[in-house]
Symmetry: C2
Subunit: 327 residues, 2 copies
DNA sequence: GGAGCGAATCGAAACGTTTCTATAAAACTG
DNA sequence: CAGTTTTATAGAAACGTTTCGATTCGCTCC
């Protein structure tokens, strides 16, 4: 592996001269620079990242942490981040798994975007206190040195509730997500507020975990208890799909007729299932872009505001008017 | 940021002693070790990755390169890699983008898994020659120091052709993928062989790029030319979905009746579209696990064989018997 | 009780860069 | 042309580790 030293020897100059030349400093003559560059390329020289970041105290790498890679959920988000970062001199890497948390304190990353419940709030605050640059997407920390780009979960859940109401639904289930999740809390909160505003509303909470399979489990219970048309608000689309699967495979109930379903996230699949899943949409791409923009600002030491991503309703035939008379 | 030096000062020992203690060397007394460990944790010490890998000449990070993050294609693969690597002391990061190629020669990674057409064969061979550890998933390099885990593309395409044949289809389209792609070449080759074996077969090649949108473009042409039931072999599912969308939205032709479609990959969506897409399945998870296993072996300097991933047919109602009489 | 030994610890070099300061030569001054 | 400034290059320290080869110390042994 060739180093700056080899180039220096070959060119008959000192290593400092080589370093200056490689970094395009005007201190070195054009000829010398040219000669050094030529030799460097002949020797296939590539700087050693570790050595460089040891000295420079930065790596030019930023990381994004996701709970897991599966699901079709993250593609757009990553695309947004990647596109934004492309204009900068930062490289993006995607990290997942408890193990890889280490890259933050070990200073492999110049900054990180966190959408990963496996970090605890305390952990993140501690990292930030030690000077690591973070943007969080899945929690509200209100910590001076951490930035956050949040989804307008409340608005989304409210849209969903209004949509159910508008179609005459009064009795409904909510399939929740991971207990600790900020998004879940926010969405649930909005549901409760809607119920307070409309006392004729009545709902049952079923515990889910944002995975398809927990939608299936909920479906089982809903079918067991079924005696009249009901609505279901799934706190994410993935579980709604699970619900679809189970209802279709193990019951004669019809979605959009006996069971009315609305989800959250507008994942790609939502438009392919039959009937089209009603859901809440937001631009994941924009979310990613905004998050990376914030992160770069933080790294550069600029002041930033907390941002919020707006949401909208996507109508779907999975929710229709409830027949005036039930049973 | 606290370093080994701070600990040494605090503990009143030399930095070498601290280093030994932190690395659990038996050279240091248990008491001293305990004292040092305590101080280290009080000071929130975390080793500086760059310094360490500079000295150790390894980073304990392995990377996987993907052409892009979008699409639902990679989730399972990544899961497989992640699961396998979890037992090791290596961390996984996902990289994408021309820019991030640099991490290989810059020695940020101890090894890489490549499923990314944006690398050229020459580039990869050059890297391998310089001693970087690589496993490639999307090409056949037959280079002593690069390993590969390949899909049995030919078997897959042959299965698909047989399936069409069995249902009486004689005239069909093939929607191809990116020109340079190894997978595409292999799949196309198998198609040609099938045609040679069955001279009554006849096909038209349409160029695609593995993206949904190119399936739509192909659909347009197929519909324009339509005069009797045809079959279409899409070289991946993503394009098949595009084909579905266009046919449903802009024609009155029925999939599985006028247009018979088979794909490749068995992505999650394939089971949700109506009618279910016939396709070729293989275990992405296993692919990922095998690739990482190979990579770790290479890194450890052990000999490895090239492996192959087997495929199977998934029947779907997107292909049915061709009516005996056409038009 | 000094030689020899093993155990615990230390000092220093090294990894590959960057960058500050020093030095020598060249280019200006008046 | 002696004195000063500028320019090109060299030397060396530093970044935070690891690790090799000392050094010190308390023992045992004859």
């Amino acid at each position: 592996m060739t180093s700056i030293k080899d180039i220096a020897r070959e060119a008959g100059v000192s290593i400092s001269t080589v370093s200056y030349a490689l970094n395009g400093s005007s201190k070195v003559t054009e000829e010398t620079t040219a000669r050094i560059l030529k030799i460097a390329s002949e020797l296939n020289y590539v700087p050693h990242a570790a050595a460089r970041s040891l000295k420079r105290k930065q790596s030019n790498i930023i990381g994004i942490y996701l709970t897991d890679f599966s699901g079709n959920f993250y593609g757009e988000l990553l695309q947004g981040v990647k596109e934004f970062l492309h204009q900068s001199h930062y490289d993006l890497i995607v990290c997942s798994g408890l193990h890889s948390h280490r890259m933050i304190p070990e200073r492999i990353l110049d900054g990180a975007i966190i959408l990963d419940e496996t970090f605890s709030d305390e952990q993140l605050i501690a990292y930030a206190d030690q000077g690591h640059k973070l943007v969080v997407l899945d929690r509200e920390l209100n910590q001076a040195n951490i930035n956050q780009v949040l989804l307008d979960n409340k608005a989304g859940a409210t849209l969903a509730m209004d949509f159910l109401l508008k179609h005459g639904h009064r009795k409904f289930y909510v399939i929740t997500g991971p207990k600790g999740s900020y998004d879940v809390k926010q969405r649930l909160h909005a549901v409760k507020q809607a119920v307070e505003r409309n006392p004729q509303l009545e709902y049952i909470e079923l515990e889910g975990d944002f995975e398809k399979q927990s939608g299936e489990a909920a479906a089982k219970q809903i079918i067991d208890e079924y005696n009249q048309p009901v609505a279901v608000f799934c706190l994410n689309d993935e579980m709604a799909i699970g619900l679809y699967n189970y209802v279709k495979d193990y019951s004669s109930l019809i979605i959009g007729q006996h069971i009315h379903i609305i989800g959250f996230d507008n994942i790609e699949l939502a438009q392919y299932v039959q009937p089209r899943l009603a859901t809440i949409d937001y631009s994941m791409r924009k979310w990613g872009a905004l998050a990376s923009e914030q992160l770069l600002k933080i790294i550069a030491g600029k002041p930033v505001d907390h941002e919020r991503i707006y949401v909208s309703l996507v109508e779907g035939e999975s929710v229709t008017n409830r027949p005036a008379l039930s049973l």
